[in-house]
Symmetry: C2
Subunit: 201 residues, 2 copies
DNA sequence: GACCTGACTGGCCGACCGGTCAATAGACAG
DNA sequence: CTGTCTATTGACCGGTCGGCCAGTCAGGTC
């Protein structure tokens, strides 16, 4: 078999580089990562990184692309599964979003670095996700399930921002007096958020 | 007069360096800033930066200290002015926090960089602010002004996180379909948040 | 076998990084 | 004036950065 421990396996090499690069970029951001360190960490030579990715910048783009694709497909498939708008489904969606971020901490940090650097490569696809989410909210508003006096996009924004910021800063915020676990924060956020977006009766 | 255009003014020089450094660090983060660029931008020599601040790292700390002090004193004085807990005051507090961030965009970015780098120098003072805020919420809960089934710290966290993330990502999020201005987001957030934290009647 | 493609290596490069240092110059005390 | 202190300068340093290049080597094709 040709796939059994070949002395050369460019695809696996690419993957090894990407994985090591993601780990370092997540931890240190683009500027602070040294190609020499990355090469050592991936077990390849610096030249090989250039051979496969062209430059440090292009490797950074490749890492971000891969992470954003994971994010985009996860959210999109979640949205496509969504059925009739009701509050239980909104709760489930927020929980799913929260858990995705919890299970992909690298994605959160990568986006944070990318955004601070002014990267807006992904705003179009992101807008697609938000647009679909807002449309879902709009339908729920029309059916009287959610209060209609708020901008649907802002409903999405509020929970996306709260969840994102929680995972961006939780190592710091969990030192706050009285602050609890992921689950405890999520529960209280949901209590406030869901009460806030449903009509008073 | 000795203060009229002296050929040497170390304090002003320090201030010029600090200001230029803050601008560059806010924009690019610690690693990406080059001392040579900073020197050019501040109109001084590289050596002078070392003379006044010792090293790039210490200058970075000085810039963060100064920004955090602005943040801390602003929030603390706001908390001290706070009177009897009621919903109108909570609204005013959220608005004040939001407007502080809006008027100090550099502070938001500086904190974001610092946090990604794992800096937790400021967690103690930050905890003091949050503790005071949470205590205010606890009093409001005891008086029945706010719902008592949520952790007071999480009430603070939710609005702090939503406001912070808004200004961290607004250049990106304002490209979302249907997304509006600062004021529009704040108004919708307040609508949801205040409805969510007050007891149903 | 000869041949080609491309994965892969080690050595090297110019640029530039943060930082140092000896020398200079302005402010001020006496 | 002289001496002292220090803000300020420009030349300079060792180290390391991202990137390049000539060449080697494995695998596939004919």
């Amino acid at each position: 078999m040709s796939t059994l421990s070949p002395t050369r396996d460019p695809e696996q090499t690419r993957a090894r580089i990407l994985e090591a690069a993601e780990a370092l970029f997540v931890e240190q951001g683009f500027s602070a990562v040294r190609l020499s360190e990355l090469a050592r960490s991936a077990g390849v030579t610096k030249s090989l990184i250039h051979h496969h990715f062209g430059s440090k910048e292009k490797l950074w783009e490749a890492v971000k692309d891969r992470a954003f694709e994971r994010y985009f497909t996860a959210q999109m498939s979640m949205l496509e599964e969504a059925g009739e708008p009701d509050v239980a489904l909104l709760r489930a969606s927020v929980e799913a979003y929260f858990h995705f971020l919890r299970d992909n901490p690298g994605v959160v940090r990568l986006f944070a670095w990318a955004h601070l650097e002014g990267d807006d490569h992904y705003s179009e696809l992101d807008a697609e996700l938000v647009g679909a989410g807002a449309e879902w909210v709009r339908q729920a508003q029309r059916r009287g399930v959610l209060r209609a006096d708020v901008n649907p996009t802002n409903v999405i924004a509020v929970f996306v921002m709260a969840c994102t910021q929680w995972f961006e800063t939780k190592s710091h915020c969990q030192q706050w007096p009285g602050m609890g676990s992921d689950a405890a924060f999520l529960e209280d956020f949901l209590t406030i958020f869901l009460e806030g977006v449903t009509p008073r009766g």
